[in-house]
C-alpha cells in the first residue's frame, strides 16, 4: 500500500507540472522566471518548499533523537527571523532591480552592478561548486528515504532514479511555472503530513504528557546537548538564504512587490509547523526505539510511524518526504540551468544572439544533464556526504556581504567583491579539507561554526578591496541607486 500511495502522489506531481505548462509562452523569460507572474501564496510555498529539504523531516528528528529539543532553536527558530528579514532587506530590492533591468540570474546582477566579467566567472564557479553537493544530497537522500520507507522493496538506486526522472520531466517541460505550481503542492503535502503524523503518533502513545515523561530529562533541557558557542554561531548559517541561487531565482518571479508581504510575515509560522512536530517525534522516539547510533537515527520518524500509525500513513509520509526532496531539487536544478544558459552559454562567441527558443532548449538539456550527473554521482556517494550540507550553507552564508554591499554601499567595487569571493573560496577549501566531517570541531573544538569566522573575513575583504581600489564610475552607480522619483529605461542584459 505504501508504494501505491507514493506512486499516486508522483502521478499527481506530474499532472500538476504538466497542467502548468499549458500557460507556457515559449520565451526564455517565461521558462526561467514564469514571466515574473507569481503571486503571494505560490511565492510563499515555493520559497519555503525550496528552502526546506528532506532534512527538515528526517534529519531534524534524527538530530533531536540524539540532542533533544535544542535542535529546534539551533536549526529552525533562527531561520524564522533571519530568512524573512533577508526577504525584506535583500529580496525586495533585488526583485525591483531585476524587474527594472530585466535580470534573470544573480550573476547577471553582480556583473552589471560592478561591471566585471572576471567577478562574474569567479562567482559562477563558486556558486556551482557550492550548489552541486547540495543537489547530490537531495538525490541521495530521496533514494535512502524511499528505501527505508518501503523497507528495502525499492532499492536506493531505483528511488533516486525515479525522483530524478520525475523532476526532470516537469522542470524541462514547464520550467519555472511548473516548478512553482508543483512546489506549492509539495509544500502543502509535507507541512500537512508532518502535523498529521505527529497527532496520530502522540495519540497512540497515550498523549504528549505521558510520552514526554518517558524521555531522558536531558533531552528536554534546552542546553544539555548543545553548547552556547554553537548556538550563537549557528544563527549565522541561515544568512545563506541571501545567496542561494534558487532563492534568488524565486525572488525575481514575484508579480509585484506586494507579493513579498505574505512570505515575509508567514515564513516563521511555516517553520514552526514543520519543525516542531519533527523535533518532538525525534525526542519521543529516543524512548520508544532506544539505541540508534549516529545517522541511524534519521530513520526514527519512519520507525515511529511503523510502530504507531497505520500503513496508509507510512505511504503518505513517504510522499511527504519525497515532496520535501523534490521541492528543493527542482529549483536547484533549474537555477543551475538558468545560470549556465544566461551567464556562460550566452556569453560564448557565436552564441550571444541565441534566440528565445534555443535558450529554452539549452536550459532544458542542462536540467536533464545536471540531474543525470547528480544521479550517477549518488550511486558512488556515501551517506557521510550529508555532512556536506552544512558546508554548502556555510559557503553561501559567507558570501552574503556581496548582495549587502551591492544594494547598500555605493562605494563598493568589483575588486572588493572579487576579494570577498576569493576569500570565501580559499577559506572554505581550507576549512573543508581540514575537517569536513565535523565543522564544529574547528577552532579547537569550541563548537564555533566555520561561518562565524568566514563571514567576517569575507566582509573585511569586501571593505578593504573596495577602499583600496578606484571608486566606481558615477554612471554605473547611478543605474543602481537612481535619485528618488526617477525611473530608468528597462534594458535586457545579455
Amino acid at each position: 500500500m505504501t508504494l501505491a500511495i507514493v506512486l499516486l502522489y508522483l502521478a499527481a506531481v506530474l499532472t500538476v507540472g504538466f497542467l502548468a505548462h499549458r500557460l507556457f509562452r515559449g520565451t526564455g523569460e517565461d521558462y526561467f522566471l514564469a514571466t515574473r507572474t507569481i503571486g503571494p501564496f505560490v511565492l510563499l510555498m515555493t520559497l519555503f518548499g525550496t528552502h526546506m529539504t528532506a532534512f527538515s523531516l528526517l534529519g531534524a528528528s534524527g538530530e533531536a533523537y540524539h540532542r533533544g529539543i535544542g535542535v529546534f532553536s539551533l536549526m529552525a527558530s533562527s531561520s524564522a527571523l533571519v530568512a524573512p528579514a533577508l526577504f525584506y532587506f535583500l529580496g525586495l530590492p533585488l526583485w525591483a532591480i531585476g524587474k527594472r533591468h530585466g535580470f534573470l540570474t544573480q550573476v547577471q546582477f553582480f556583473r552589471e552592478r560592478w561591471g566585471s566579467q572576471t567577478l562574474a566567472l569567479a562567482l559562477f564557479a563558486l556558486l556551482v561548486a557550492l550548489l552541486v553537493p547540495y543537489l547530490l544530497i537531495g538525490v541521495l537522500g530521496g533514494g535512502i528515504a524511499f528505501e527505508e520507507i518501503t523497507t528495502g522493496r525499492v532499492p536506493r538506486w531505483a528511488g533516486s532514479l525515479l525522483i530524478c526522472a520525475i523532476v526532470s520531466a516537469y522542470v524541462t517541460y514547464g520550467g519555472l511555472r511548473s516548478t512553482a505550481w508543483v512546489n506549492t503542492l509539495q509544500t502543502l503535502v509535507f507541512m500537512g503530513l508532518g502535523a498529521a503524523t505527529f497527532v496520530v503518533v502522540v495519540r497512540s502513545l497515550g498523549g504528549l504528557g505521558p510520552a514526554l515523561a518517558r524521555v531522558d530529562p536531558g533531552l528536554l533541557l534546552h542546553g544539555d546537548r548543545i553548547g552556547g558557542a554553537e548556538l550563537v554561531s549557528y544563527t549565522l548559517v541561515p544568512l545563506s538564504v541571501g545567496m542561494f541561487p534558487h532563492i534568488f531565482m524565486h525572488w525575481l518571479t514575484a508579480r509585484r512587490a506586494t507579493a513579498f508581504r505574505l512570505p515575509i510575515v508567514a515564513y516563521p509560522l511555516c517553520i514552526a509547523v514543520v519543525w516542531v512536530p519533527s523535533v518532538l517525534l525525534g525526542v519521543l522516539g529516543s524512548a520508544e526505539v532506544p539505541g540508534l547510533a549516529g545517522s541511524e537515527a534519521s530513520s526514527i520518524l519512519v520507525r515511529m510511524i511503523r510502530l504507531h500509525a497505520p500503513e496508509a500513513l507510512a505511504g503518505l509520509l513517504a510522499a511527504g518526504v519525497l515532496a520535501a526532496v523534490m521541492s528543493s531539487l527542482d529549483s536547484q536544478a533549474l537555477s543551475l540551468s538558468t545560470l549556465f544558459t544566461q551567464d556562460v552559454a550566452r556569453r560564448l562567441p557565436g552564441l550571444e544572439a541565441m534566440d528565445e527558443r534555443r535558450q529554452v532548449l539549452l536550459g532544458r538539456l542542462f536540467v536533464v544533464g545536471v540531474l543525470a550527473a547528480c544521479y550517477l554521482l549518488s550511486l558512488v556517494a556515501e551517506r557521510s556526504i550529508f555532512r556536506l550540507g552544512v558546508w554548502s550553507f556555510t559557503g553561501f552564508a559567507a558570501l552574503v556581504p556581496l548582495p549587502v554591499a551591492a544594494l547598500y554601499w555605493r562605494r563598493s567595487t568589483a575588486t572588493g567583491a572579487l576579494a570577498a569571493v576569493l576569500s570565501v573560496a580559499a577559506l572554505w577549501a581550507l576549512a573543508f579539507l581540514g575537517g569536513w566531517p565535523a565543522p564544529e570541531s574547528w577552532l579547537g573544538r569550541t563548537g564555533v561554526e566555520p561561518v562565524a569566522w568566514m563571514l567576517p573575513v569575507s566582509a573585511l575583504a569586501m571593505v578593504a578591496g573596495s577602499l583600496l581600489s578606484r571608486p566606481p564610475e558615477f554612471a554605473r552607480v547611478a543605474r543602481f541607486f537612481p535619485p528618488e522619483g526617477t525611473a530608468e529605461t528597462p534594458a535586457q542584459p545579455r
Binding site: 529539543i69 535544542g70 529546534f72 532553536s73 529552525a76 527558530s77 533562527s78 524564522a80 527571523l81 533571519v82 524573512p84 528579514a85 525584506y88 525586495l92 530590492p93 525591483a96 524587474k99 527594472r100 504528549l208 504528557g209 514526554l212 530529562p217 528536554l220 533541557l221 534546552h222 542546553g223 544539555d224 552556547g228 548556538l231 550563537v232 544563527t235 509585484r256 512587490a257 508581504r261 515575509i264 510575515v265 508567514a266 515564513y267 516563521p268 509560522l269 517553520i271 514552526a272 516542531v276 523535533v279 518532538l280 528618488e484 522619483g485 525611473a487
Partner: protein, 59 residues
C-alpha cells in the same frame, strides 16, 4: 522597528532557559520559548511590512 529586529535576533540566545526543567503548556520550557520566538518573529515582520514598506518600489 529595525532596532526591534536586532533585539529579537539577540533574544534567540536564551541562555537563561538552558537548564529550565519545568514544562510550560505541557511542553518543555525551551521549546515553548522558541515556538513563541517564531510567533514574535511573525508579528514583528507583520509590523515591518505595515509600517516600513518601501515607497519607491515599481508596480
Amino acid at each position: 522597528m529595525f532596532a526591534a529586529l536586532g533585539l529579537l535576533y539577540l533574544l534567540h540566545n536564551d541562555f537563561w532557559l538552558w537548564s529550565e526543567p519545568r514544562s510550560w503548556l505541557g511542553l518543555p520550557a525551551g521549546l515553548v520559548y522558541h515556538l513563541g520566538y517564531c510567533l514574535a518573529a511573525a508579528l514583528l515582520m507583520a509590523l515591518v511590512v505595515r509600517r516600513a514598506w518601501p515607497a519607491d518600489l515599481p508596480d
